[in-house]
Symmetry: D3
Subunit: 273 residues, 6 copies
């Protein structure tokens, strides 16, 4: 069960409205790596976690924080849209280059649909959806997805940090950048700890090593011409899992037979003779 | 530019048809972590890579391999559907429990739309889409996404490995498992190498550390009741980036003011008094 | 079966082209509350209606009208795009602020895909889809959805009314506003009539009142801090259905046990110890 | 900012697993009228509310409760999947009618993707998305959408109530039914109160009545043959808004001119002579 | 403007219910090549047609017919679901192989969401969407898309024809098959007529032949190994447009330079040295 | 299995950056008729082709070429974005009309998500998805879809050709136009050849002519008022398939009975009396 405090986790007050930036910020709300993603990803991971204790509590701590991040961003977007020329007619936009530049860069749905507020969508107006998240029950696989989400989240925040000179917006982004730094470190640490605790190892899942075709777990196939990749640390030596060696296979040849679909059921009317 | 060899990278021949399993295998073709995802993710990352040399070549080597994995899976699905009771009428399904069990588990579009072949969709019939992939230009962020993709890919393959007892299918999956092992190790190694080469460090992006609010990069807020998370290695001590310490903040209080949207533009007819 | 008259239900002739506005109008064609939604929602409700008579006829009357509204909007969009600088090169846009403002606000697909015509999409270019509509077979539930659709439709139309000063466009919108007024009243009246006719009551569905946990049908849980909501008419007194009383529960505590997922199937490789 | 309590708002413990039902319950998690919808719809409405006080607090109270409903359903789904024949091979399904019936009715992604857990998707495996919700800033329009959401939510819950005979599942659904009863009454009451408070009236938005074409706000056009609709209370008499009369227009004729798109820009290569 | 006749264009009465088949028929309602697609594709093409006269009238004749086809299919689906074991509990499904087979093959949303009626979705429950259709303003391009739509429509209908032995269903499908035959012929004839009328030629659009690189309009590149394609009529001789010759290019080499993305903007934090 | 050559099939070098055009070009990468579509459509058709020989080889030759077209477009987009004012703040955009025009026309995700690179999406930022393609196993149906795809592809390319005056971009588009000319001719020729080879005839599928209701395969119903369509070659005379005659049916009347859904299952709570 959840409870809500009317105060924001951190302040979200721009110096002045900026409806062009309000569109860009949508990426951090409803983009593939926005706050709705980390909220829902961590909530479902927490609910799907099979062990009580430190991992489950950690996931739920962070998940609960992220709901509050959607709230901060949503509030910021509404404030950036205050007094925006949302209802300006085209004639005004073409008569005044400033209005023209602003209208060109706005998200029309923030006005028409949300009445000057945020949308559960990204900076191109595409709605957030449930296929953005994963909660597999395997914590190592999920924590890797979490590192990736926080890494792209901080990367996009850093890019957006340079697209404004509003001190209020930058102040909030400085908080977000810091949290994304922490969360990247956190999931990396948790990955280490899963190994220390003997719950998972390096490769996901920690199983089926005797069944898989071991000889194919070692060779990088040189399928794009040029062998510069051979200069990398991955071309020879031990693999991170400590079980395998790396090798670089030049001039690889297919191991299978011809790719061929079987004769069809005549009632399906596939072309066949 | 690409070229195609009519032989499969590895054999994909089931002992016998199994249309129920053909539906499940769709997850590895068109699911969020299926072969279409790694194909397109690596292709766009390779094309978006800003440096010639070992990283770009490595990405394109693996990307090109993955197109061939879609081909293997697509061929396997068509073969698993051979002679399937796709055109059976309901009366047959209800008269014969075997036919009933098979029809209940099939993907109807594999018959109606694809004529007994594979679809660019997942095991629930949802189409693959471009929001599944990321190619940000930042190799560290992208390689973390690649580790996550290979980890979930191998996890799903391992789960599917137990859902069949067909030796031909299992033989192909043993190859896939091995490649996913290699690719996980590979992207982990490449993450190390970006650091060794001085291109990236631990946190993505390697920038804005002086700007971000440093005091908020250290504390995990205990927002889900119970403090079991305090028992983790992330509750104190140095963070993986070597720059920060971890701390666990009990009884956290909001730092911001009331969440409040501003007065609306009257022409938008928001409720206001 | 349907028939078509080549004349529009109401005139849709702008004084002059306005490609920026043509993009915004897409919201009324293919948005979640646009004309495609009411068309398809009412058609499916009519086809799914189980009783011949006044309700079914009413739904089909309005449904059939709405197809003509898509036609009016589609015609208006094509006319607003006449002679638009769709094929202007960027150099022209950057040399001339008027062209720049227009190009910035246009939907590129109206030119590239539709050749200067309307799209089955909203003002952010997102396609209309079937999950926007509902036809449940329960007329009370559906009529509430219809009131909501007409309310948001008129609200968006009112917002768009202020974003143009073209007398031709405004003339058409005045018709649309009037129809949306009527249709809101109509579905509200039909909700009353379902009750008068003894077909449905206040709550959907009119069933299972003896089975549901009656004690939990009365209390609003104060889960967001601050008890201002207690000042509302919903904090005490009879509920609209005449069966229940309202109450406001301060300091609510969870009634369930710990949220915990069960031990996993080992073949699924969930993390577990 | 939000906080989380590890206990469920209400108990969610099935007597025994039922993986077929676990698929159906997905509708209440990630369907168009599921708990993710009411959670996100109310959160965005609360954040977009322009007035402090009873309405905003009410919305946030209910929004916060709904997050906990997603949690209850997610926990229930994981428990219904315990020990499910997720990893059964097809041969078992075809050999044993019970296993066949179960496998045919399962959601394969609950096993392959979520490791025996819930998905942010509906009962057909389609992901929840942000276009399901609306937060327009106009409380009357939004509360109508809320009534519709709760009405369809309770309707679907009632249908699902009959699809199980598990006393644990039914016990939770009895709680959900009761909350949906309350919430329908609540939003209906809030609609009344907006009027009492003079904030909104009957029609959304409460504006532009002098501008709209009044003569078209009264007549239902008989566009579907048969005039049974004339027997309804909507065919004459005052409309619910008290401003208009109803009328039923037999043999309606179009008021506009021919529907015709204008001559095209030659560089767009539309067919034209 | 449209009008509606309460009678179906053709009868849609099954001999008996068949809920498994009701799911499959969804493909013809809301699939990529279902009746919603041809309805909306032809409507938008008609509205986007720039010339009054025979083409526009033809398109609108067929478009208007197709709305009635959605109606026929929707009615058929509701009738196939009559008395379906929609509300059966899992225990019944596992106790009775007939019920098990039926439940496994049903679409759960037809019961839970539509109350035993049709959905605007395909046979995998994926909603119809506006990206399925095209109305480009170029009639030749659009008529080719129409031929493709009718071809796949008749193909899917033919496949579905074999999946039932219900004489009522088959009777309706015999009508649909005939209309799809006619419509394929019709669009093929209209393609001829565009050429006869001098409006379009063979290639779309009939323009830019002097600008395009003519030498690359003739050679098929042998990029998939094996030169069997050289045995086709397309390997030499005149092309259908009468302007070009066919040639088959063995051992093709790339004409461009290295694929390389440019140096990045440092503020975007792409990896670069 | 596939191999990759680092050189582009054809050069893709703009004279200078143009971020506004970079957004428009996305249509040719990830639009419904963009290069991702033809790549995936032809690959799945090739894999789903049931006959070794000239058709399968042809399909795979073209499919493999198309992957290289995505590569060309992706490279071009990255180059058009070089040095773009992606990170400009709004103040700069409103101060300088040139920057304003550019920012208004840009795709924000090309900067925020892709770091100045291409996206797997169209010019409105909507992601490519698998429902855009078809591979039915019936080559005639599929080749018609291929003609349509190449026709719309060349049409969109021709439109885009006029939206730039950059000689480098135009040079690449001249290559694309030529390939689209060839590919249209190619699939048209292949359609002829299927008939010559006796594999398919005119109508898809070449079956069920004796079963379908022949009398309904001849008449165009005049359902849109005005009989101009009667002036077309399709109103009388032989149909392209040589089996049927065309006729134009004036004043058509419905052949079916009333459209009516059956009585509902009471447990579904449809409204019924
Ligand atoms: Ca290489
Ligand atoms: Ca905690
Ligand atoms: Ca409160
Ligand atoms: Ca009527
Ligand atoms: Ca070849
Ligand atoms: Ca006509």
């Amino acid at each position: 069960m959840f409870r809500h405090n009317r105060r924001l986790q951190f302040e979200a007050k721009p110096e002045k409205p900026d409806p062009v930036y309000a569109r860009k910020l949508q990426e951090l709300i409803g983009g593939a790596f926005g706050e709705m993603t980390v909220t829902m990803q961590y909530l479902f991971q927490g609910w799907n976690c099979r062990m009580p204790g430190k991992y489950k509590d950690l996931i739920m701590d962070i998940a609960t924080e992220e709901i509050g991040h959607v709230e901060m961003l949503a509030t910021m977007v509404a404030r950036l849209l205050e007094g925006a020329p949302s209802t300006a007619v085209t004639k005004m936009a073409t008569a005044d280059p400033v209005v023209g530049a602003v209208l060109g860069g706005m998200d029309p749905q923030q006005a028409i649909v949300a009445g000057g507020g945020p949308l559960p969508a990204d900076s191109n107006g595409y709605p957030w959806n449930g296929r953005y998240i994963v909660a597999s029950g395997n914590l190592l696989a999920d924590f890797h997805a979490n590192v990736a989400a926080e890494a792209h989240g901080r990367l996009q925040t850093a890019r957006l940090y340079h697209m404004t000179d509003d001190r209020g917006v930058k102040d909030m982004l400085k908080f977000n950048l810091a949290r994304d730094t922490l969360h990247q470190n956190l999931w990396l640490k948790a990955i280490e700890e899963l190994r220390t605790d003997g719950l998972e190892d390096v490769v996901v899942p920690d199983a089926l090593f005797d069944e898989e075709h071991a000889e194919h777990a070692e060779t990088i196939w040189d399928l794009s011409d040029g062998a510069e990749a051979q200069a990398g640390g991955w071309a020879s030596g031990p693999q991170p899992d400590g079980r395998h060696q790396f090798a670089y296979l030049l001039n690889p040849e297919p191991l299978g037979d011809l790719a061929m679909a079987p004769p069809p059921d005549p009632k399906l009317y596939d072309t066949y003779d």
